[in-house]
Symmetry: C2
Subunit: 275 residues, 2 copies
């Protein structure tokens, strides 16, 4: 596995790989969810490139940038073992040298929900991912369905900026009790961890009610919200168009139920498509 | 000469051209200044692509988007005669279909001067040019030194987003009396046209004073401003770092004297590098 530390190194290495190239961007702290993205990329491409970069632009003030879990050697070993051909692991200085100042505003899909809770988050995500795409020139970009709004934002930015990379959404991997795999799950204490799967149950209940009933979002989400267990605190539970992330008042198959809870200082998100 | 109307058509055609490809973006209303960009691109590349698109995103409210001069057949004939291999002339709908919402904020180089006078202008410029670059994948981008802040903004965005296109600045072409060629010169009435070269004279006087004297920008620009002739009204006359467009209080060789005047509803800009 090649390792590149700068945009120029990444591009020089990426251009030598057999094509098509599939790309998996990560912030490290890899778990089975990331590895499912890598496996999917291997299945569909001649080469896989991955990035490990904890992107300061997408963390707000008071968020967990400093304490975000980092273990580069472990991450690199996992990616190597999974057959990744090129790992792009730039430093903060390589990505944002003195004088850096551009940013990409993804527009409406990034405004509500996570974008409202985390000002600047999706501009940071869009900016770093477009930089990574320029440095690696993949044919396909693999993203987790778990971060559904990030997926919508990046689909929109790629489309709006006339980029040809194909965005591929990979289904969320879950613990046996339904909790979506996330690098932030390590922050949960025993009580929070025990309650965490209730977010998924609430989303599934809302999706089921909307699939079976008359599509009244307010009624379905009110009932579902009652399933969130203490000490989790519900931040939002809503139904959106999966492309625009516009909230829906009436919803049926294909719409997306999204939710976020707070567990102490940790936020957990999840989503469920109405079947 | 091939003509493409959509990003997909442009990319399919551009990828078949002999490389390297040089790209000249325009808003049409072509004059000798544009043709100098095309000629330079021909000299340095195997193929030249040009675009003609009057970009609504870079016009503010009350600006001249509606009345901006348009003559597609004439522009296309000029580009064909100059040896352009591919003309990309998208419609507004092809560039900004329903649901379009992303934008690129170029950051500090776009904040002052033209950016302050024309809110949103440089975000509109950056967004459209990055779209054009994605649709054409040129090796080199040719821009006029005349729009010095646009040049600084696009250099910064290309660098910050890790794009590999080389930005080439082409010297300003001028009328015999020194007025920089601009598609907006057609708006000038006789009195405005007669006074217009005084902007260039003022910039040159400031540059000369700064090259010869002690580098005191305030003193040099105060003297130069007095050279602006009625009915022109001075909007700004300043000295900046040509990369960051940060204003300088002391300046010497390599710094850029920039100025803008109003002539009725028309704005004229120009710049002069301190020799």
């Amino acid at each position: 596995m090649l390792v590149a530390a700068t945009p120029a190194e990444a591009l020089a290495s990426a251009r030598k790989l057999p094509r098509p190239v599939g790309f998996v961007p990560t912030m490290g702290a890899l778990h089975a969810g990331h590895m499912a993205l890598v496996q999917r990329a291997r299945d569909e491409n001649a080469s896989v490139v991955a990035s490990v970069f904890v992107n300061p632009l997408q963390f707000g003030r008071g968020e967990d940038f400093e304490r975000y879990p980092r273990d580069f050697e472990r991450d690199a070993a996992m990616l190597r073992a999974a057959g990744v051909a090129l790992l792009y692991a730039p430093s903060g200085e390589a990505m944002y040298p003195p004088g850096f100042g551009a940013s990409i505003d993804p527009g409406p899909p990034g405004r509500g929900f996570e974008g409202a809770s985390r000002p600047g988050h999706f501009a940071g995500v869009a900016t770093v991912v477009i930089k990574l795409l320029h440095a690696l020139e993949p044919a396909r970009l693999y993203l987790g369905q778990m971060d559904a709004q990030q997926l919508a934002v990046l689909r929109a930015v790629v489309r709006d900026l006339d980029m040809t990379v194909e965005v591929v959404a990979v289904p969320t991997l879950r613990e046996r009790d339904g909790l979506a795999l996330s690098s932030r799950n390590v922050y949960l204490d025993a009580g929070q961890r025990s309650a965490a799967p209730s977010l998924r149950r609430a989303l599934a209940a809302a999706a089921h009610a909307l699939a079976a009933g008359d599509g009244d979002v307010r009624q379905a989400t009110r009932g579902a919200a009652a399933l969130i267990e203490r000490p989790l605190e519900l931040e939002y539970l809503a139904v959106v168009d999966p492309q625009s992330f516009a909230p829906l008042e009436r919803a049926g198959p294909g719409a997306l139920v999204v939710g976020a809870v707070r567990a102490g200082a940790t936020r957990l998100i999840d989503n469920e498509t109405i079947g």
